[in-house]
Symmetry: C2
Subunit: 357 residues, 2 copies
């Protein structure tokens, strides 16, 4: 996509950036899209009602800069105070502000060597020094290795792209061991089976939990995310936000977010269906010769015991199925496969059977 | 709004920030809102159709990270190539990225001492050195004073909060005089009577034009803005954006933006009505004892020849009318009054007549 490598007009930082590359959103052709961990299910029915009933005249007014209605809905949902909730235009924006607000420190930021690949990108953007901490041979986080001087820690729970969940007891210990550092638990996928750290917020002033509406709320196209934590951390985020864009969350996004949050039964139903499909896909992949990491997310991370992951990735694409392949050390034998609808899972498994036959 | 002054968890920058304070968006009471330069007219009728026809199921998918359809619509509208257009979540976000991408330089950024008050805030966020260049006694920009070493220049055309338009010839000369600096012309209000600098893009590699859908497209609640310039500048913005948030513009925002842009007749009609109202309000304010700066925006900037602006501001508020008062040197005698509907203008003028009687 890069059309120019450098320009004399750029700030120093720009040519040194190594931007994040999201999974492909194809424009040309209908694929079965299992490459970006989107939901196979539509947003809650209340979302369509918001669209049908929204008075477009209201759009001539600026949104509430504090997104009060949405913040209050999230606070009520999580049993928090209004001052403990921050919202943004996707959890990517929320994470960007959090890196800026908390991680420009003397000591380096710590995160796993295999993790959300946006973390080192944010570090480049905000000139944050970081050290990656290797996962063990089972692709698990080794909490003991985080016992070192640091200017912050960020961990996804469950981790991505492995899907492996973290033990609550280990997170608690990490928070207690690092009272002077902000610890972000990135819970993009937490609803699919991991244990949220939100109940630890009351106890730990250094905990920030980040969540998104993109995955378990079926709203990737909306761009809505939030951070939850004690008031001083949320205030730090607000100061950054109010120095960047006074109104990041537009009126429609707030109204749709509130509608999605209100329908807990629908949320649980979609989540449960994905959890059931995940078990079925995992079992079938194992029978097809894959090693499948234990996933608590809406995807599985799997490597074939004999066949090359890049080859399988290309063959699936030719069969009209997109999955995610990371050509990076340690994980270039794996495919990350989003859990689709039952039909999509069937098509995937049939295609793999044919490719591997 | 600030609940905490500082926290040991914050990056150094956070406590030193002096965030932007937007005009009030009241939640409690119905005011006549002439304080944030919103449009008194609804968005184009096509916007309501987008909402009515939008398939909410599509929201489970991420947006196109490049917002191709919207970018192409803007490129066609302005007679530019796709590579010359950047879109973001409001022109505030676009400006933030532009400050980050272009203005971290050895020499200071230059902008008028009386201008959009977000500019120094961005400088604080990105640690950009800046020098403000005084307007003259008639509140006009003195282009000769920009002939000094600089790491960039940003000027609104028309300027805010004065409303005074810049001469195209002066902008052209500024661009030619500063071939090594990026010059941003912030055209938030350009459609209400100033001359756009878009035709100069072909000639000047250092020109970036920033526009918004908030004012002349009646869509402040949508948060959509754009930058227009030669490809290397746009590529610089994309590199920042792709290191911050891969998908800033959500699906609904893109679709609504395209619909608004498509209805040029409606756009011109709303704009023309505001221009007519502005002339009427200006004349009436003059008769009420105000000095009114010559405005090419959707607001007027006016000071009463005898009465205190703060007092008038408070009295208007008590009468249920919000305008903007900046308690800052040089301009604390002025009120910035958005041009409302004909009825709102009547109510404003009647209230002022009573207050000043």
């Amino acid at each position: 996509m890069t059309t120019v490598d450098r320009s004399p007009y750029w700030s120093d930082i720009v040519s040194r950036l190594d931007p994040y590359v999201p999974g492909e959103q194809p424009r040309d052709q209908q694929y079965i899209k299992l490459n970006t961990n989107e939901s196979p299910y539509p947003p809650a029915p209340g979302v369509a009602r918001v669209l049908a009933e929204f008075d477009s005249d209201a759009l001539r007014r600026y949104p509430d800069p504090e997104s009060r209605a949405l913040v209050d809905a999230l606070a009520a949902y999580h049993g928090l105070a209004r001052e403990q909730v921050f919202v943004g235009n996707g959890s990517d924006e929320v994470l960007a502000h959090a890196f800026h607000a908390f991680f420009q420190q003397t000591e380096p930021l710590l995160f796993p060597d295999i993790s959300y690949s946006f973390y080192p990108v944010y570090c480049g953007l905000y000139r944050i020094d970081y050290v990656t901490v290797p996962l063990d041979d089972n692709f698990e986080i080794v909490f003991a290795d985080y016992r070192r001087a640091n200017g912050g820690i960020i961990l996804p729970n469950p981790n991505a792209p492995t899907g492996i969940a973290l033990a609550q007891s280990a997170i608690r210990e990490l928070l207690a061991d690092n009272p002077e550092s902000v610890v972000i638990v990135d819970e993009a996928y937490v609803d699919f089976g991991a244990e949220t750290s939100v109940p630890l917020i009351e106890e730990f002033a250094n905990l920030l939990v980040v969540q998104t509406f993109s995955k378990s709320r079926n709203l990737a196209g909306l761009r809505l995310g939030c951070a939850l934590g004690q008031a001083p951390l949320i205030e730090g985020l607000k100061r950054i936000k109010n120095s960047f864009n006074s109104y990041p969350v537009n009126q429609l996004t707030s109204a749709i977010g509130i509608a999605a949050l209100a329908d807990d039964a629908y949320f649980r139903d979609c989540r449960d269906r994905i959890v059931v499909s995940r078990a079925r896909v995992g079992k079938a992949l194992d029978q097809l010769g894959f090693e499948v990491l234990s996933s608590h997310a809406n995807f599985v991370f799997a490597r074939h015991r004999e066949r090359d992951a890049g080859d399988i990735n290309r063959a699936l694409r030719e069969a009209g199925i997109l999955v995610r392949y990371f050509d990076k050390p340690r994980i270039n034998g794996f495919l990350r496969i989003s859990i689709g609808s039952e039909d999509e899972c069937d098509t995937l498994l049939a295609a793999l059977a044919q490719i591997l036959a």
